[in-house]
């Protein structure tokens, strides 16, 4: 079969114009799948950016057991955290700082003795990553007298774990959505193929090859896929525009979040190409099924 893209595309567009409802359903199906996948990918991208943005703000506290030698612990901490600023904070200083931090509410500390808080070491680690902070905290845990190490970002740990799991979930979701969408699109396009079975039968009778009959349907599937995916990307861009400023107002760490983090060009391209591929797969399945029925 000679491939004539203009001719086949013209026929595909004419068919879509004649049956806009079917084309709309196919496009909407792909829109939903691409939007759901894109939303998850964008959320993961944003979360990763937040994790990266967190670096540089970490302060690790090492609380010492009662009776531990603060100065010896500080020396040991400097040894395991070379280049980091280590401050030895006696219990009394810690209590005073707490009172300062509480301001007018410091009344609640009346009657609390200096022994209420443990001696501690404060280790500043600017520019450190979450993994680096975790590693440093583990090393500081081996400091003599160390009872507890806190780098105060449990929620970040959870976020990191969410991102890691989310990546796996995104892959699984994308695969599941791709298959489900291909089947849905295939069934939708079956309506289109069914509506044109007479045309297919007559074309076969006048000597059309399967490729000639299929080409417009395949192009139709790709066009619906591309259109659905493009609309989904536009919707995601709009959502970014609405949600991200609110997120930035609520969470300081999201301040640097940009479109390149949530919807980077490679993701946009992948979503649009994925939509086209799913449309192609769906139409190929439905046309193959119908052509088998007309097999001379």
């Amino acid at each position: 079969m000679t491939f004539r893209p203009v001719y086949f595309t013209r026929r595909a567009l004419a068919a879509m114009a004649r049956g806009p409802y079917v084309a709309l359903v196919g496009t909407a199906t792909i829109f939903v799948a691409v939007f759901a996948t894109g939303l998850l990918a964008a959320a993961l991208g944003g979360a990763e950016r937040v994790l990266q943005g967190w670096a540089g703000e970490v302060q690790i506290s090492v609380y010492l057991a009662p009776g531990a030698d603060l100065e010896a612990a500080a020396r040991a901490a400097r040894a395991v955290a070379p280049g980091r600023e280590v401050e030895a904070v006696p219990a009394a200083t810690a209590l005073r700082r707490l009172a300062e931090a509480l301001g007018e509410e410091a009344r609640v500390l009346e009657g609390v003795g200096p022994g209420a808080l443990p001696d501690a070491l404060e280790v500043s680690a600017p520019g450190i990553s979450l993994a680096g902070a975790r590693e440093l905290a583990a090393r500081l845990g081996s400091v003599p007298g160390a009872a507890e190490v806190d780098y105060g970002n449990v929620w970040l740990e959870k976020l990191e774990s969410f991102v890691a799991r989310g990546k796996v979930a995104a892959l699984v979701l994308f695969a599941a959505l791709a298959v489900a969408t291909a089947v849905l699109v295939s069934n939708t396009l079956r309506l289109a193929v069914f509506a044109r079975r007479e045309e297919i039968e007559i074309m076969k009778l006048v000597g059309a090859t399967d490729g000639f009959v299929s080409a417009p349907f395949l192009i139709e599937g790709v066009l619906q896929g591309l259109l659905g995916a493009a609309l989904a990307v536009l919707a995601l861009l709009a959502l970014h525009g609405v949600l991200v400023p609110r997120l930035q107002a609520a969470v300081a760490l999201a301040g640097d979040l940009t479109l390149a983090d949530t919807l980077p060009p490679p993701l946009v391209l992948a979503l649009v190409a994925g939509g086209g591929a799913v449309g192609l797969l769906g139409s190929a399945l439905s046309v193959a099924r119908t052509l088998r029925r007309f097999q001379g």
């Binding site: 000679t2 004539r4 001719y7 004649r18 007479e198 007559i202 006048v206 000597g207 001379g296």
Partner: protein, 208 residues
């Protein structure tokens, strides 16, 4: 059955309903698979043809149906153009040939109309033009006048006759005896899938 049709012949296939006329035509244009025997078409045994080769056999065959089988959403010209598009001829060539074909069936001014707006006779003339579009070596017509009044019947038969005069082999399945009487051509009579008579006049067919 054993039946041979020579190049350039005009043959009527006749017999009662269920005799096998349409089935024989379907076997010839590979719309029905043969379960046994041989069917030699242009020197090839199409009874054992691969499915992928069927379109290329059909391109040498024009088919006219009783119910016209025109696409209602395509114009008359687009319907006639279909076999030429399938052969991926250039657009300009297709337009030229469609114009000539519509002129030959007297519908040159109806090219932009849609089939449902045409009379039955006109629709069958469009179907004949489509069947002849690719200049086929063989033209099959399955009850081509079954839905037409006597005047329109003669118009369509004249077109088939004209195609035969230009060298196309024509096989017409019909149970209309008036056609057999009017056009004194070879008549093959079928009955329950068997050939019961093969002769050059309707009288011979009747006497069998």
């Amino acid at each position: 059955m054993t039946l041979a049709i020579d190049k350039g012949e005009f043959v009527f296939l006749t017999g009662a309903s269920g005799a096998g006329k349409s089935t024989l035509l379907k076997l010839i244009f590979c719309d029905e698979p043969a379960t046994s025997g041989q069917l030699l078409l242009f020197g090839k045994n199409v009874a054992k043809i691969r499915p992928a080769a069927i379109p290329y056999v059909r391109r040498n065959i024009g088919v006219v149906f009783q119910d016209f089988k025109l696409l209602p959403q395509r114009t008359v010209a687009e319907n006639v153009a279909l076999p030429l598009e399938v052969r991926t001829l250039p657009d300009r060539e297709i337009k030229k040939r469609v114009r000539a074909l519509l002129r030959s069936v007297g519908l040159e001014h109806r090219g932009d109309k849609f089939p449902p707006s045409l009379s039955g006779g006109e629709q069958q003339r469009v179907a004949v033009a489509r069947a002849l579009a690719a200049d086929p070596a063989l033209l099959l017509a399955d009850e081509p006048t079954g839905n037409l009044d006597p005047d329109r019947t003669l118009e369509v038969m004249d077109l088939l006759y004209g195609a035969n005069a230009r060298g196309t082999t024509v096989v017409v399945a019909t149970h209309d005896r008036s056609l057999l009487e009017r056009y004194k051509r070879r008549v093959v009579v079928l009955e329950r899938g068997r050939l019961v008579s093969d002769g050059d006049s309707v009288r011979r067919a009747q006497s069998s």
